[in-house]
């Protein structure tokens, strides 16, 4: 059985949304930062069970410092959200709580995963010792560079969407 699900990656610019998708879809990473404008759409099939596949239509949106500025047409028919911030840049998670509240209010019932990316840039035990830095506890800490927890993120969401 195969179903298609549209998911959207949101968050400030430069947090690594495109890199997460590239790592997930193509297993590759580059340190060259290319700003996304508008939206790129990629697709990947995820096997969530022996005879069950979810086709993820992944919308990689341009980064905004205010989530409310996201173009409404992009969000039409979205099945799930991934909100990404950069664990090394406080400016990208300063409004985390407000943004998450906005999304859960506007899109009640739509699955949402909060992700702290770029953990490869932090010392080993930093996140354990500074867990309170983030006003919302992230569902995943990822590294698009090393691939750490990237597959787990998309697969978990895919499974949730298939329910």
């Amino acid at each position: 059985m195969k179903t298609s699900k549209k998911i959207i990656l949101l968050g400030h610019f430069g947090v690594g949304k495109s890199s997460l998708i590239r790592q997930f879809v193509e297993n590759s990473f580059t340190t060259d930062y290319k700003v996304t404008i508008g939206v790129h759409i990629l697709k990947k099939d995820v096997n969530i069970a022996p005879d069950e596949t979810v086709s993820l239509i992944i919308w990689d949106l341009e980064g905004y410092d205010d989530i409310k500025k996201t173009r409404a047409s992009y969000l039409l028919g979205t099945h799930g959200f991934i909100y990404v911030f950069d664990v090394t840049r406080p400016a990208t998670f300063e409004n985390l709580e407000d943004d998450i509240t906005y999304l859960t209010n506007q899109y009640a019932g739509t699955p949402l995963k909060v992700v702290g990316n770029k953990i490869d840039l932090l010392p080993k035990d930093y996140l354990k010792e500074n867990a309170t830095d983030f006003s919302v506890a992230p569902d995943f800490f990822t590294s698009a560079k090393t691939g750490d927890k990237v597959d787990a993120l998309f697969t978990t969401l895919a499974k949730e969407l298939a329910k």
Binding site: S4, K6, F13, G14, Y33, K34, V35, I37, G38, V39, H40, I41, L42, K43, S55, I57, E62, G63, R71, S73, Y74, L76, G77, T88, R89, P90, A91
Partner: protein, 508 residues
Amino acid sequence: MLETYKGKYFHPRTQFITIDETGKVIESDNLLFPLKKGDEISSISPFFEGLASYFDLQEDNDIKFTCIHLENKKEYTCDIEFKTFANGQPTLIIIHDFSDHYQYYQEVAQSRNESVINSQILELKNKYLKEKEDFKNTFIANFSHELRNPLTGVTAFCSVLQKTQMSTEQQDYVEVIKSSADHLKNMIGDILEMSKIEVGKLSIDEELFDFHKLIEMLEFTYSVKAKQKDIEFEVDFDQKIPTYFEGDKTRIKQIFENLLENAFKFTATGKVILSISENQRRARKVNLNISVKDTGIGISPKKIDLIFNSFTQLNNAQKYSGTGLGLSIVKGLVELMDGKITVESEENVGSEFKVNMNFKYPINQENTCLEEKSAMEHNNFLSKEKYNILLAEDSELAQMAVLKILAQEGHFFLDIISNGEDVIESVIHNEYDLILMDIRMPGTHGDELTKMIRSLPVQNCKTIPILALTANLYDDDKKRYKKMGMNDIIEKPFDETTLLNKIYKYLK
């Protein structure tokens, strides 16, 4: 003609496609993407996948999607219109190729975002460096504080020991201990001083002082030193320079001493010359050129830029001792007084440090006089046979040092209290002539106790001299002690003369 031009120069970048309710192509003009009748519209891009499910295809809808990246052999950045009709007409998709326009926008956004991210990273780096610097300075301040207490014991007991019956050999040993303790005290002082300058906690006092006398004193001290080192020392001092200055005498003296110490340290033969000349006068300010020139080892051009860095000793061989802070303190102090310092040097020939600074001076130099009294002079003014002194201090070493020094004088009864909480009760029940108050005490700190004493409804409590005994010497601390009602500060480590000078001054 217009039609000819249009035919030649107009390149339409818009594709029209109609699809059925299952997403299959009915018609397409194939201007951008080649499509055949019956192709899935989603074969262009996953963007179109499931799009039809977002709307009710039986109603009138006109939805626009801007800046969509579509890849089909070539990459396009397009605006896409999606029109459905209530009258049952097939769905229309219009794709406008705005790749050139969006390419320009992408470049602008790239430059803007990179600049914002870089400035955020820079801000974070600065914050991290500042935190590291603050930690270092707090550590240095605390560390030197902890060193000062035991050093008080060494210094004070050397003074006491020197007054006992000792053989000449023993006296020599005590002299060595005393000189080592003084050296250690100076080094701790240097480190603390530097940390104060770096965190901007050093302020410049303004007091009237005799500049000529200061230079005479330096000439005397360093002439003796020059004889001991078998080198020459010359002072070239312009006598027309005003006698009295208003400034921070201690810091100005420190600038001269550090420069001269540096010159003497690195000069084995030849001479050291101190020159002070007047440059100009304007509005109660005189501008002086100060130079300390030596015939020492000099500095190589490669290393000259490092000379004022903290903890830098250019000669790494252990031949020359010291913390390497002397010159960085000089630079810090000169800049704090709005002056400038430069250095010219040639390896194996010598160095010249030049300072240019403004000094404030009182216009009426004739009628200026300074009140200077030694401890012994104060001693002559004592009006009572015996004085009651309270020492609030938890360090046993400091207690013994004060006890020994005061016992030798024979003018004092001394009460000692180790715990801050017992001080108030003792002040209420005894009539003290003076209180020596440690700051960091268990229970309540000395500055808080002073505030409490000053508010007690007991006679004398408002006027009794309270002197702080402390190694917390930041200007903020000093200001706080004064605000809390303390009369003066005795810095740890103190010696006999310093302690007695201050006590007699306030008992007069």
